[in-house]
Subunit: 170 residues, 2 copies
C-alpha cells in the first residue's frame, strides 16, 4: 500500500446493496434448520451453513437474531440441519416465509427423528442432528456452532443450490 | 424424546468419517483467500465461507489453526476472499496443496489490489476485500469474521462448486 493510503481501520464496510450483490454470486446449498424441545418446534431456511472442524465434528449456522425461530433454537439447544435435495424448493420457500402456519410448513415434508428429537426431513441429501455448543454474536446475527451427534445421507440425490437469487442444481 | 433416552449432553459427536461423508454432500462455492501485509503474502483455498450479516457487511471464513497461511492472515489482519469461477480449478488445487512455491501458485492467476492490499484475483466471480474484525476458536479451526470494505463482481461468470469430492458448476 502507498504510504498516503488511508489506514484500513478507518475504512467503512460496503453498503447493504453492494454486499448483497456480491453475496448473491456465492453459490450455496439450501438447508432447512429445525428444532424441537421445551420451547416448541420450529424451523427456518438457511444458506449460511458450513463445516467448521471434524474434531469435534462441528458445523455452523448463521441466524438472524430477531428471527421468529431463533429464541426456540437457543432455548431448545438442539437443531437438525437438513441439506435439501433438488425438488425440495417448496419446503425451502415455506420455511423461508412468514406466511402460513408452522403446521402448514411441516405438512409439506415427511419427518423422522434421530437422537436430539429435532425434526429430520426425509429425502434431504444430508441430515445433521446437532446440539448447540457455542454461540458468537456478530451484528444482527448469531452464529451457532453445532456439534454433530448423528448423520444421515442420501448420496444419490442432487443438491438444491441458491445462486444469483434463484434455485439451481448441478 | 422418551424419558429413558440418554441426555443430549452425554452423547458423543460422530467420528471424522461420518462427518466428512455428510459434509461432502453440502455443496459449496470454492474460494481463494489471500492476504498481504507485514507478515508477507499468502493464500489458501476455502469452501467454508458464508455471509454473516449486512450490518455491518460481514462474512466468515473457517481456517485450520495450523495451516501455513493462518499466521500470516492473523498478523496482516486483512484478506481478500476471491470466489472462483468455473475454469479456475487449477488455482484452487494449487492453493489447496502444499507442493510448489507461493510464487508458482500466484503465477497461475492475474492479480490486482483494492483497498487492503490483499491480492485480488481477476476473473473470479466475486472478490470481497476485507479486514478481520473478530476471531472465534473452535476445536482445530479459527473462524475469521471479516468486514467487507470493497466488492468486485463478474455476474456473467459461472460459479466453481465443490460437491461430493469433485469440482462442478451450474
Amino acid at each position: 500500500m502507498p504510504s498516503d493510503a488511508p489506514a484500513i481501520e478507518t475504512l467503512s464496510p460496503v453498503d447493504q446493496k453492494q454486499f448483497r450483490g456480491g453475496m448473491a454470486l456465492l453459490a450455496a446449498a439450501v438447508n432447512l434448520v429445525t428444532t424441537a424441545g421445551p420451547a416448541g418446534d420450529g424451523g427456518f431456511t438457511a444458506s449460511a451453513v458450513t463445516s467448521v472442524t471434524d474434531d469435534p465434528a462441528t458445523l455452523l449456522v448463521c441466524v438472524r437474531r430477531n428471527g421468529s425461530a431463533t429464541p426456540l433454537v437457543r432455548t431448545n439447544g438442539v437443531v437438525c440441519v437438513n441439506t435439501l435435495a433438488a425438488g425440495q424448493e417448496a419446503l425451502s420457500s415455506a420455511f423461508g416465509s412468514s406466511s402460513g402456519t408452522l403446521a402448514d410448513r411441516f405438512a409439506l415434508g415427511e419427518w423422522t427423528r434421530l437422537v436430539t428429537g429435532a425434526p429430520v426431513l426425509r429425502g434431504a441429501i444430508a441430515n445433521f442432528d446437532c446440539r448447540i455448543a457455542q454461540v458468537t454474536e456478530v451484528g444482527t446475527h448469531s452464529v451457532l456452532f453445532c456439534q454433530v451427534l448423528a448423520v444421515e445421507t442420501l448420496p444419490e440425490a442432487a443438491p438444491l443450490l441458491y445462486f444469483n437469487r434463484a434455485y439451481r442444481t448441478i
